[in-house]
């Protein structure tokens, strides 16, 4: 069983977490069709260190996890559910 060492929850099985995709800013509602197509479909799929949405099912908590998609190393974890303000958004 693969474990994920969560700074807020402690060591939990990775299978309790659900991946929610990279954190991305949405375009404004009046953005062009191309900008919306870009947002809806296009991804920066190359290996990178980036911040992602992760959900912990048993506790119903959303996290921002900064992870390297090449090495799978996690650099930072923050709760998105309890601290969500404009200042600490990724």
């Amino acid at each position: 069983m693969k474990l994920f060492d969560c700074p807020e929850l402690g060591e939990r099985p990775l299978s309790e977490f659900v991946y929610g995709g990279a954190v991305r800013a949405a375009p404004s509602v009046d953005a062009t069709d191309d900008a919306w197509a870009e947002h809806v479909f296009h991804r920066h799929g190359a290996p990178a260190l980036r911040t992602e949405w992760w959900y912990h099912r048993p506790s119903g908590t959303w996290f921002w996890v900064t992870r390297d998609t090449a090495s799978d190393a996690v650099a930072a974890v923050r709760s998105a559910s309890t601290n969500r303000t404009e200042e600490n958004a990724p």
Partner: protein
Amino acid sequence: MSAPAIWSLAKSSGNSVETRERSRCSRVDNTDVALSWPRRLKKSYDVVIVGGGGHGLAAAHYLARDHGLTDVAVLEAGIIGRGNSGRNTAIVRSNYLTPEGVRLYRESMKLWRELSAALDINVFYSERGHLTLAHTEGTLRTMRWRAGVNQELGVDSELIGPSDVARLCPKLDLACGGMPILGALYHPPGAVAAHDAVVWGYARAAMRAGVEVHQNTRVQGFDVREGRVVGVQTSEGHVSANRVLCAVAGSTPRITSLLGLGTPIVVHPLQACISEPMHPWLDPIVVSASLHAYVSQDARGTLVMGAALDGYELHQPRSTFDFMEELSSAMLDLFPLLGRVRIVRQWAGMADMTPDFSPIMGPTSIDGFFLDAGWGTWGFKATPISGKTMAHTVATGTAHPLIEPFRLSRFVDYALIGEKAAASVGH
């Protein structure tokens, strides 16, 4: 339907003897291929193909055979066939859901049947029949839909009930651990093949025609002038080329990011494993999308098994115990007789996933740069047709009619091709 043999390489249907006869071709002549490896890159080529997997090598072969283009270099970062071409579970079928997908894979299967003879190598193409099990009413409904689309397009595919499933696959437990099998989509021409033979067969055929295959040659950048590709920078030096085909599966985002070309592709690992060799007992290929498991028995008697795509993006072909645990649980529900069978090896590939589970093929916004990508979990079966249609596209500069719907620009004009019958993805 005739009662299936417990084990038969050639099925008891009409084409069985033919298929067996076609398989009697020469063995792999490694010496011959080894002698053809080129020493160093030339300064320029008509066409550069990035990626020495099945798709890239097939494209090289058809460029030479169908279009007379032999001034071609295939650049492979590692060794040929060591990426997804050697990591898939080697299943071939055409019972997809979208007409665009069914047409493409249907044409691919025509090429598969002739492949051993065409490449003069035994690719062990073995038609076993393919069963996609239904455990819910909802799945049955989708299968009825799939069978309808398949039949309309001339693909042998039908919905069958539990008694027919039991007849075709006697070892299957229909109670299935509390998720009873209500029926199955049966696709008689479903087949398995030897993936290494396919890679080496295409490589040898391309090399014999004059194509150069360069291993351990990594692409590091591209020269683009006025929106047109003019050269490729590699770890072994610079080459000029006006036409570049990128066929690198799980490495696609790394290559397209060198060009600043946006795609919807994300990379997830896809894992698989094999059991110890067993007495032959499993004739058809058996898939359960609900249990996220599929299995076939290869010519050596090992069970080749796979499950669902890993749940998050990762650029690593790593294996996990979680996968093995979940897969074993599902396999025991399907085949309780496997309780004491050991797993001897597990591995993973990097699947280049698209949002609609269809590939991305054809020209791009950069002149001369062609993409054959987004093959996710469904690329192996398309190897021959992808090679043939991409060769046509590169040679003529215009997308082959079969692949036109799979253009990259469908993600700008919202013309997606939702392929819900793709392998190893939950629906």
